[in-house]
């Protein structure tokens, strides 16, 4: 039990990038757009956040750079799929390929440079509470942001009129268009929000989780975030649950590697990926549940008739 309590803060840190990227993608998919470029936007966020922190000396300035870069990069996807109605699956893939390439090129000179870590910001008063304090209230800024974001997105989607509009656009863009909603405008904003979240997730990786730059440092987390959205059936609170479960799996396999147990490290390292597949199968086999929650226009092209 004590070991688990000691592991909890690291689990939360490992889960935060997944949570951020998945919550952003959830909003994008709720608006009816499937952006498979999460991995690419995340790694662009990671490299620009690292560069920004190096240039200014401040991890917070770096974080802002990561958010802006993620949002700007997602505009490429938005322009192609929303304005030019290109295939969303293929465009998302190209965003990932371009992001991995660009980040490798930009980050070439950063390899081996010691990073600037974003320190913890214990919340005065709350952080002193025994047991709970160190686990919940002694984290870095991005962790607090991730929790606030889940609450905010839940509130926005299910408690505001704009959120209702966004969901109706995702479920039937033709009717929404006929009712006078700006389908393309809302989708552009959603895509940029998703990009900003993925950028922040990347910033967390290169400023908090492992404060350095290594090529391909996202290591498939963007794809796991996409799977988390399916796992959560497009509900923000379940994204939180899923992200922490995955955080536990990846930290668990790290600790198992430390203990040895005679299991080759490569097998343990593949656990998060295999867990993703297993979870995907368990969720998807219930066709009725998936059909009920999937935004009906997810991935479908929209051309307004005039």
């Amino acid at each position: 039990m004590n070991l688990f309590l000691a592991m909890l803060p690291t689990i939360m840190t490992a889960a935060t990038p997944l949570l951020l990227a998945a919550v952003g993608e959830l909003v994008v998919e709720r608006s009816g757009v499937l952006n498979l470029g999460v991995e690419g936007m995340m790694i662009i966020g990671a490299v620009t956040a690292f560069a920004g922190a190096q240039a200014t000396g401040s991890p917070y300035a770096g974080m802002v750079c990561g958010i802006l870069a993620g949002a700007a990069f997602s505009l490429l996807f938005g322009f192609l799929t929303l304005t030019l109605v290109a295939n969303q699956v293929a465009t998302g893939l190209s965003l990932t390929i371009l992001g991995l390439g660009l980040s490798g090129m930009i980050g070439d000179s950063f390899v081996g440079t010691p990073g600037i870590q974003m320190g913890a910001l214990p919340i005065p008063g709350l952080a002193e509470i025994p047991v709970v304090g160190p686990i919940l209230f002694s984290h870095d800024l991005i962790f607090y942001l991730s929790i606030l974001l889940v609450i905010a997105v839940h509130w926005f989607l299910f408690r505001t009129r704009t959120g209702l509009e966004l969901r109706s656009i995702g479920d039937n863009h033709d009717s929404a268009h006929a009712l006078g909603m700006g389908v393309i405008r809302v989708r552009y904003l959603a895509v940029m929000f998703g990009g900003a979240c993925a950028g922040l997730a990347g910033a967390q990786l290169s400023l908090v989780y492992t404060p350095q730059w290594t090529e391909n440092m996202t290591a498939g987390r963007g794809w796991i975030a996409l799977a988390l959205v399916v796992f959560a059936s497009w509900r923000p609170v379940w994204v939180l649950v899923g992200a922490y479960l995955f955080g536990a799996v990846s930290i668990g396999q790290f600790n198992a590697q430390a203990f040895g147990f005679g299991i080759p490290s490569q097998f343990l390292s593949s656990m998060p990926y295999l867990a993703t597949v297993v979870v995907l199968v368990l969720i998807s086999r219930n066709r009725r549940l998936t059909l009920m929650n999937t935004p009906a226009c997810l991935g479908k092209p929209f051309v307004p008739d005039r």
Binding site: L36, L76, L80, T83, L84, V85, A86, N87, V89, A90, T91, L93, S94, L95, I97, L98, G99, L100, G101, L102, G104, M105, D108, A219, G220, W223, I224, L226, A227, V230, P264, Q266, F267, S269, S270, Y273, L274, T276, V277, L280, V281, S284, R285, R287, T290, V303, R306
Partner: protein, 363 residues
């Protein structure tokens, strides 16, 4: 000013033919701007990236080596993507084929027979197909998204290969390097002509392209693939099963990716290493789209993308740029291809905002 698009009454065959070339031209322009931004002379950089690799017999051989896996994989993917099955885990199937095909050369290195090479190649195809069968089963039987499952299996395959060459298959005389023993001569895929470097994988790629083209355009199976890709509902009325198509397209593309994997190992690398592919499985996705899912055009597209790998290596040596420039080029290219394809189905117009608001006021 804003862009408006309008559906064409019929597909524009003019733009269908032109769009890959427009995309290529735009990629070259974007690349020139990128080189200039990096402080290099764009013309000499573009020359050493795209033209210089075509000027020697050695590099033409290298081009064939790099293009062979791209074409083989992309031809398989054309069947998948035409039927709307998104297999994006070809990189993992490539590795699985390489591993399965290496069983005999690594575990029974002394066995020689004229049948050895054909067995190795078939085992490679079986390995790739079996690995592709996993996402296929998960999609057909459990409704699991094939994009995510096939991609996750890439990471698993990479880690498994890493374990194999560091663990059970490590060459005992290899000074502790993470690699297997070298393939024997009879397990090595020979060059196409004596003295050349390009192996028979390139010929297999051409054969696969022609056979698949024939299947897609001239047989009932090809019709089935296209109907199910356009509309699985219409396909069902015609008596086609989209469930069976999941299996067919995944096994077919997995087998070709596996063949590409074992050809690369047996013909080019000659042993297994922790990393055996510079991302062929992902680049092949670009090849498939640049060749607009037509196996014959894919041959050309594969040569173009193969050239970006050579250009990347050349850029590293002659102008001191990171070899990652190649990945950036590949990403640009796919973007422009997808953007230009809009012209086939839609007309694009620039509308001045004054006119647009005037129209709204009139309504």
């Amino acid at each position: 000013m804003r862009l408006e698009i309008e559906r064409r009454a019929t597909r524009s065959s003019l733009y269908a033919a032109l769009s890959p070339f427009i995309a290529l031209a735009l990629t070259v322009v974007a690349g020139g701007i990128m080189f200039a931004a990096l402080g290099k002379d764009p013309f000499s950089a573009l020359y050493s990236f795209f033209i210089a690799p075509l000027t020697s017999a050695w590099s033409l051989n290298q081009l064939a080596i790099k293009s062979a896996p791209l074409i083989l994989i992309a031809v398989g993917l054309s069947v998948c993507f035409s039927s709307r099955n998104w297999n994006i885990g070809a990189e993992g199937q490539f590795i699985a084929g390489a591993l399965m095909g290496s069983i005999l050369p690594v575990m029974a290195p002394d066995w020689t027979s004229p049948l050895l090479l054909p067995i190795i190649l078939v085992l490679g195809m079986v390995g790739g197909a079996l690995y592709a069968a996993i996402p296929a089963i998960l999609k057909a039987e459990f409704n699991a998204n094939e994009i995510l499952s096939s991609l996750m299996l890439v990471y698993v395959a990479q880690l498994f290969l890493d374990w194999t060459v560091r663990g059970p298959w490590r060459d005992p005389q290899g000074f502790n390097f993470p690699q297997t023993i070298q393939f024997s001569d009879s397990a090595t895929l020979p060059p196409i002509y004596a003295g050349g470097a390009a192996h028979w994988g390139f010929v297999f790629a051409l054969v696969a392209a022609v056979v698949t083209w024939f299947m897609l355009r001239r047989t009932l199976k090809g019709f089935e693939i296209r109907v199910l890709g356009e509309s699985s509902r219409a396909g069902r009325f015609a008596g086609f099963s989209s469930r069976r198509m999941v299996y067919f397209s995944f096994l077919f593309s997995g087998a070709l990716a596996g063949l590409a994997g074992i050809c690369e190992v047996s013909g080019a690398i000659n042993q297994l290493q922790p990393v055996i592919s510079p991302g062929y499985g992902f680049t092949a996705i670009i090849v498939a789209f640049l060749g607009r899912l037509n196996p014959l055009s894919i041959v050309v597209a594969g040569l173009v993308l193969g050239l970006t790998y050579l250009g990347g290596e050349a850029a590293q040596i002659t102008i001191g740029l990171s070899e990652k420039v190649a990945r950036v080029f590949q990403g640009f290219l796919l973007f422009f291809v997808l953007g230009c394809d809009t012209l086939i189905l839609y007309r694009i117009r620039l509308v001045s905002s004054r006119r647009a608001s005037g129209e709204e006021a009139a309504q």
